[in-house]
């Protein structure tokens, strides 16, 4: 799966997600990606999220919308992402990852799986990582 979230100069947020799905899936199986609130969600009033992971579990907790719900309750992008992934893991045993932005330009890339490649660009700096805890930066 791949995805992206962005905030433009006018403060508008958007998300996009795309996937080939699960390895050796049944013909016709559709996962979380095309489902609003599961594979992604974007609302200028709260933020934007794109998700990856085990689709059936992501759908059970509507992961993207869950992250934004926690942000609406006052949590930061990072805290909301972490608490939502933890909820998915504890409630249905699912692993995954999210990238999240809010309209003010705060962002997070969080995952409960072993790895997730991610990168972010803001203010002329490129941030990126692959393993948990990794956060490299370089000038663009």
């Amino acid at each position: 799966t791949v995805g992206a979230v962005a905030v433009d100069a006018e403060g508008n947020v958007a998300c996009a997600t795309s996937t080939g799905g699960m390895l050796n899936k049944m013909e016709g199986r559709v996962g979380d990606t095309p489902c609003i609130g599961s594979g992604g969600y974007a609302d200028n009033l709260s933020g934007a999220v794109s998700t990856t992971g085990y689709g059936e579990d992501i759908m059970k907790v509507t992961l993207a919308r869950l992250v934004l719900f926690h942000m609406e309750q006052g949590q930061s992008a990072e805290a909301a992402s972490d608490v939502s992934l933890a909820y998915m893991k504890s409630r249905v045993g699912g692993l995954g990852g999210v990238v999240t932005v809010d309209p003010r330009g705060n962002w997070a890339a969080c995952f409960s799986s072993r790895q997730m490649s991610w990168a972010a660009a803001q203010g002329g700096t490129l941030h990126h990582g692959l393993y948990a805890g990794e956060h490299f930066t370089q000038n663009i």
């Binding site: 962005a6 433009d8 508008n12 947020v13 996937t19 199986r29 974007a42 200028n44």
Partner: protein, 166 residues
């Protein structure tokens, strides 16, 4: 307001021999999307650009490089959503399209529907002039190898893709 873009690949197991290309892929897609934002482009244009580039990158499970279903075919899903209006568009189980994310954007821009699936999505793509591509052009040797290795009844494709634990 400082523009910002964040991009991800798949959560799960990335083999060591593919990790460098995976990291380079997201960095390159992020920079391309960021240029659009710096030039005054919209957040929607930026996310579609980033995802299009990753769909075209065979190191990711989307577009070219997608995993195969049990029959050895490629079926892809994509979604876009615009935070200004809550407009969204999606496609599911779509075949023979190089960039499902661009088709999802067309669903958002050109129809009143939220999601088109399978043959209906293909018919819509044809009506929009989207070029169909041979399935073979979306299948990598790596995807075929993983498909073959997970055909046996004892195989665990979810564990193979997601890894054993986080």
């Amino acid at each position: 307001m400082l523009p910002l873009v964040v991009v991800h690949g798949g959560a799960g197991h990335v083999p060591k021999e593919r990790s460098e290309n995976s990291a380079m892929g997201v960095c390159s897609a992020t920079q391309a999307a960021y240029r659009i934002l710096q030039d005054g482009g919209s957040s929607m244009d930026a996310v579609v650009e980033a995802v299009t580039r990753l769909e075209n990158n065979p190191f990711f499970n989307a577009g070219c490089g997608s995993v195969l279903n049990v029959k050895g075919d490629v079926e892809m899903d994509a979604i876009v959503m615009d935070g200004r209006t809550l407009a969204s568009g999606a496609v599911s189980a779509v075949r023979n399209i190089a960039n499902p994310v661009q088709l999802a954007r067309l669903v958002m821009d050109k129809t009143s529907h939220a999601c088109l699936t399978a043959e209906g999505a293909s018919q819509f793509a044809r009506s929009m002039g989207v070029v169909e591509v041979p399935q073979e052009s979306l299948i990598t040797e790596y995807a075929r190898m993983r498909w073959r290795n997970n055909l046996e009844p004892s195989a665990n494709p979810v564990e193979c893709q997601m890894g054993k634990m986080g």
